[in-house]
């Protein structure tokens, strides 16, 4: 219900810097995922939004309201904690009812809302239990329930479904996204799981070592990663990187690797010229954009050797030895191959990425 605006925010813990000059905007009623590996400052950011952590420098606005000096109570947020933080001496029902009781909601209304949330989270039968008697996943759902019983200005989720089993996690992804759409509440969702970020969020902020790497829609992040780090972090299996040299010939630009030469498209050539690309680059190619055929001389342009094949039911991951480099290829299921069996692969020039070797910034 409000736009959240983070401006030049820094967070220090003593001398350690957890968040560096963060600028981030979460539009009204949209779903923002903050994605990054462990220790990148995601929780710190969220806790500053909640008012649990002092903001070392910079400003946070909810709409036009600067909230730096406001305690959590006055920010009208609901937060789900990484480690549940349930009230151990209260039942599941009382845990979920607490935010409503603090707002003097009447009894019938409390009962109605708690039961509705419990039903949504499939924990109706646990309402009389204490947190001690719950499994990890049940605790986590109780914690989510405590947040969704009321309608706050902003939802803050800190890895709310990280501890659930895969099936329930997939189910909860859908439920949470649906819930967010239905309640139309500004939501900021912290996760280290790119699948969650990609599938749920309107916008993703990718963070690494306290620094915002890229902000964009899931498709922007996936298709146009801003740098090598983002490209490598987002996507499963991760993108392959190969050291190449650019050679400019009469007929265009070619990326040269000891094992192959790849001619770039005209559009790519123009982008490289615009950005004044250096000769040394890193070629990024996603596993599912590489064509693969087993057998020597099987027709694709580049000869390589199989390192290992990993069948995944309908698909197959093939690790391919390409000179000194090893790359991952994702292909339709086929017969397994043994170590060092020959194969051929091909790259789709239109779907590769090039990054500056010096600083990892993307050319395209």
């Amino acid at each position: 219900m409000v736009e959240v605006n983070i401006q030049n925010v820094w967070k220090y813990y003593g001398k350690t810097v957890a968040v560096k000059e963060l600028n981030l905007k979460c539009p009204e009623n949209s779903f923002l995922a903050i994605l990054g590996p462990s220790g990148c400052g995601k929780s710190s950011t969220l806790r500053m939004l909640a008012g649990l952590e002092h903001i070392s420098a910079g400003d946070i606005f909810f709409g036009d309201l600067r909230v730096n000096q406001l305690p959590p109570k006055e920010r009208d947020i609901a937060m789900v904690f990484e480690n549940y933080a349930l009230y151990p001496h209260k039942t599941v029902f009382e845990n979920m009812a607490n935010p409503l009781r603090l707002r003097n909601v009447n009894r019938e209304e409390i009962d109605k809302r708690v039961r509705r949330a419990a039903e949504l989270l499939q924990i109706e039968m646990l309402l009389d239990r204490k947190p001690m008697q719950l499994s990890g996943g049940q605790k986590q759902r109780t914690a989510i329930g405590r947040a969704i019983v009321r309608e706050p200005k902003v939802f803050l989720f800190d890895e709310p479904i990280a501890h659930l089993d895969a099936k329930l996690r997939a189910h909860m992804r859908g439920e949470l996204k649906h819930l967010q759409r239905r309640l139309e509440t500004t939501t900021i969702y912290v996760t280290h799981d790119q699948l969650e970020a990609m599938s749920m969020a309107d916008n993703i902020a990718v963070m690494h070592e306290g620094v915002l790497q890229q902000f964009g829609t899931p498709s922007e992040i996936y298709n146009h990663p801003a740098n090598e780090w983002v490209a490598g972090f987002v996507g499963e299996p991760p993108m392959n990187f190969l050291n190449c040299r650019l050679e400019r010939g009469a007929d265009g630009v070619v990326a040269v690797h000891p094992s192959f030469r790849l001619a770039l498209t005209d559009a790519q050539r123009r982008l490289l010229e615009e950005k004044g690309a250096e000769a040394e680059v890193r070629l990024g190619v996603r596993p599912d954009t590489i064509a693969y055929r087993a057998g020597a001389g099987s027709g694709l342009g580049i000869a390589a050797k199989v390192f290992v094949t990993e069948p995944l039911g309908g698909d197959m991951i093939v690790e391919v030895q390409l000179g000194a480099d090893r790359i991952t290829v994702k292909t339709k299921i086929g017969p397994s191959a043994n170590l060092d069996e020959p194969c051929t692969i091909a790259f789709d020039a239109a779907r590769i990425h090039l990054f500056a070797a010096s600083n990892g910034i993307a050319y395209f």
Partner: protein
């Protein structure tokens, strides 16, 4: 989460250990309960009966310990002639008063020490606990001088203050441990739910209540059983039960019956207190269960 039933498997050594445990407990019960039993019995006996003891080794004669005409004259003597009612009241007011003040102030201090970071916190904490390192007698004389100049000698407020001086640092030290045991995230969650800092503290109070209750009892016991402070700082207007009981030992005439009765009067209230808060005492020891 794992249940708290411990899986046990029978073995020879476990059986032997079980027998040894029972023997030890039996001996321990005899050791601790027998003196109490003799005290209670003797307090209802006439002086002559009280000294009817069986000869050493005469186990059949144990029965003579239990054959007597019960009399309440010692109790009548204590309360009607010797003013023990007042002393009992003094004991109660001084020990409960000091325990209450210590626990309330101690909880507040312990909460801040546990939850807040400020410069010199560790030094402050060490200083607080170091005040308990000096033996009581070492500070008694200066304390007496101070109290005299403030006209606190022989008054109940003076005695309460003296006990609090000793209870408070201990309370802060112990209670900080209880607060440390409660994850801060619980308060954070409560604040995100929309409570103020104070309401968040109220939210975790039930979690530390067993600890606070257990410690309250320790403070009461300290005041209740104290002899030194009461005989020096309380002497005159604020005499409590222990010095009053000692007063029954006179050079010419040791009033055994009354001493036993006074002992019973001193013991019984604390026994009741113990039974009353037993649940809390046990819960206080299992505080670890709060952790998620």
């Amino acid at each position: 989460m794992a249940s708290r039933e411990i899986a046990q498997y029978p073995s020879a050594s476990r059986r032997v250990f079980g027998v040894v445990t029972i023997l030890f407990i039996a001996f321990y019960l005899l050791w601790t309960l027998l003196p109490l039993l003799i005290m209670f019995l003797s307090s209802f006996k006439d002086l002559l009966d009280a000294f009817q003891l069986p000869a050493t080794g005469d186990w059949g004669g144990v029965a003579t310990l239990f054959t007597f005409e019960p009399t309440t004259k010692h109790y009548e003597n204590l309360f009607l002639e010797l003013n023990f009612g007042t002393y009992l009241g003094n004991s109660l007011i001084a020990s409960l008063g000091s325990a209450g003040i210590s626990v309330v102030l101690g909880s507040m201090a312990a909460y801040s020490l546990s939850r807040l970071d400020f410069r010199g916190k560790n030094h402050l904490f060490f200083w607080i606990i170091s005040t308990r390192m000096a033996p009581v007698v070492a500070v008694l004389v200066p304390l007496y001088a101070i109290f005299r100049s403030l006209d606190l000698i022989g008054t109940l407020p003076g005695l309460i203050l003296a006990y609090t001086t000793f209870n408070l640092p201990f309370a802060i030290w112990i209670l900080k441990g209880f607060f440390d045991n409660v994850p801060y995230a619980i308060e954070e969650a409560s604040m995100c739910d929309g409570s103020t800092r104070l309401q968040a503290l109220r939210m975790i109070l039930p979690l530390v209540a067993p600890g606070i209750g257990a410690f309250l009892v320790l403070c009461v016991l300290f005041g209740w059983n104290d002899y030194l402070f009461s005989s020096i700082i309380g002497s005159g207007g604020a005499k409590t039960l222990p010095p009053a009981t000692i007063g029954l030992v006179q050079p010419q005439n040791i009033q055994w019956g009354s001493i036993m009765a006074a002992g019973a009067v001193t013991t019984v209230p604390m026994l009741f207190l113990g039974v009353l808060i037993r649940r809390y005492l046990v819960a206080g020891l299992t505080m670890g269960a709060v952790r998620e």
